[in-house]
Amino acid sequence: MAVISYIDAITMAMREEMRRDSNVFVLGEDVGVRGGVFRATVGLIDEFGEARVIDTPLAESAIVGVGIGAAAYGMRPIAEIQFADFIMPAVNQIVSEAAKMRYRSNNDWTCPITIRAPYGGGVHGALYHSQSVEAMFTNVPGLKVVAPSTPYDAKGLLKAAIRDEDPVLFFEHKRCYRLIKGEVPETDYTVPIGKADVKREGSDITVISYGLALHFCLQAAEKLAQEGISAHVLDLRTLYPLDKEAIAEAASKTGKVLIVHEDNKEGGVGGEVAAIIAEKCLFDLDAPIKRLCGPDVPAMPYSPPMEKFFMLNPDKVYEAMKELAHF
């Protein structure tokens, strides 16, 4: 099995799906000739032509809006938002149109669109190229929000998203693109949307995370293991709807839960995860549910020391995990 990068897994998924189904097409800013600013769509225009790999104007509402129309017509669009920060002009299309299509047509119409958006910081991208915007979409019934952390999951989930009959927001952590590598089968497989995954078995504390932060958790868990502390690490993978059973199971396993995400703490996905645990696992809890998240600051600063302050890292996660283990 080949070891490839996270971004290559995404490209592989799109290529395979485009080969498999001629209704699948890609649209977005610079996705064609340029192959995407992150090179996620590189080579696709050569193989599938400009009719299926469409360079669009700088208008996110149009990218998603066109996608929704095509989806209603029976196509399977993959709309790329160049940076998740720029998804705001498309929110009306996503929340008010795509998410509600099936419901308001009483199941007559569906909207099988996949919206890919690179998010997250740690790349010196500053205010407009570093935001985590997932929490804005995780209380919109009708939407599915996916945020894989490994190349294997990225490929499997993207393929599942493309095949899904309903709109899927597919968030890719841009720091993971070339940092994270892993084994990815060249065969056709999907990873089910809505299922979390235990990335490490442990018995002392439970850590729940997703995206880049999940890798920090795994690194910290490795370090803690040498100190005799065993961490159970759950990767949410899908942020909406959450895998409530997996969350409850993981939380009950140790009774001590730390939720880690790069997104701002207040109103983040972690709050919902904590609420699920509070509802389902009270009598298994041995410590307050803790969250380690980005600060409640408007955006990722440009100044390197400030960016370092804002971003999580393995040391910060290690300290939080250790403190909880000792509680």
């Binding site: 002392d204 140790t254 009774g255 009598f283 298994d284 809890l285 041995d286 410590a287 000792h326 509680f327």
Partner: protein, 447 residues
Amino acid sequence: MATKVLMPQLGESVTEGTISKWLVKVGDTVNKYDPLAEVSTDKVNAEVPSTVAGRVTEIVVPEGETVAIGTLILYIEETGAEEGGESTPSAPEQTSAAAVTQQATTPATAPTASVQADVKAVPSQPAQGGDKPRYSPAVMHLAQQHGIDLSRVTGSGMGGRVTRKDVQAIIDAGGQAPAIATAPAQTSDTAAPQVTRETAVSASTASSSVEAATAPGDQIIPISSVRRTIANRLVQSKHEAPHAWTMVEVDVTNLVNFRNQAKDEFKRKEGLNLTFLPFFIKAVVESLKEYPMINSTWAGDKIIVKKDINISIAVATEDALYVPVIKDADQKSILGIAKSVDDLAARTRAGKLTMDDMSGGTFTVNNTGSFGSVQSMPIINSPQAAILSVEAIVKRPVVIDDMIAIRSMVNLCMSLDHRVLDGLICGRFLQSVKQRLESIGPDTKLY
């Protein structure tokens, strides 16, 4: 503008209070927080502090009178109210209301006097979080499910917190490590909620060792869990049960003679040494039958008189004290008791006591005479109501029918929980034991 002082709420369930004594008289000047009166209720006696500074203008309720909570008891003319008082009549009331609020938050023992009827001045309990153990839901849940006494669990978490893993480890190991007599099951049978709280307090008392200085060369012995349990339980007993103590001396010359004459044959037939202890236990058991009240337990709001007579016997090992139980001792002969004692003592020393061996005791007999003691003040094996120690049998000159004789004498010492028992019944009980022991002779049946 006079401020009204009302009968304060002296505890949540209290509805009325008696002015036992006025500490001020009309015309006296009082400062804020000065005591105004002594008030007694069926729950507490307390002083009523002044909520304002001023001069007492009228005492409404005379001494000795019982009035409902919230009744006007006296008027105080506030200092400083005269100056601007008339133009702003509501000002003093606001001041006094503020005073109430302020006072309610001070951890003073004196309860708050409420000034306005709608201000419910329930004295707020000062948070004593510091040394009270707090348990997580998981720990509480597991402890309840498996009958684990958390006050006996040593925590490995931050600040000694008992963690879920600590409790799980005990469960995985097959339950709580036995240390002294009472099983957790029995504790939960009898302990009232308030007792549980006190347990927690005493547990922390025992564990918070005195800041002792160590000098070079001193040996430091870490406390084993058994030792800690012993400490906790004894502190708990001393703390909860008001101990009273009494002693009788018994002439056991006949018993000594009888035992000397019977022991060789007994040893040959039964393979057991015939010691004195079974005779004492037998006499105690028969007297317990006669005075069942001694065989009881304080349970907070009631006294439980136990039907079964299960005698705990104290067995010391080199570094710990165990109290295994002779079950249904009232159904056993002297031989039966001797066998039980021998078996329990052997298994204690071999470290093979089971939880069942340690539980269910209703009265304790302590053989302090075995190490030569002639007098002792045992600590009650909680939640039992009394403990009796049998001291060493010594030959002493005693007066019989105005003649001096050399007799074998023994002291029986008894500590009793004075909440349950009084001197009278214990005296009768001891006289009963004494008579039984003194009437042992050739006719006494061993089997």
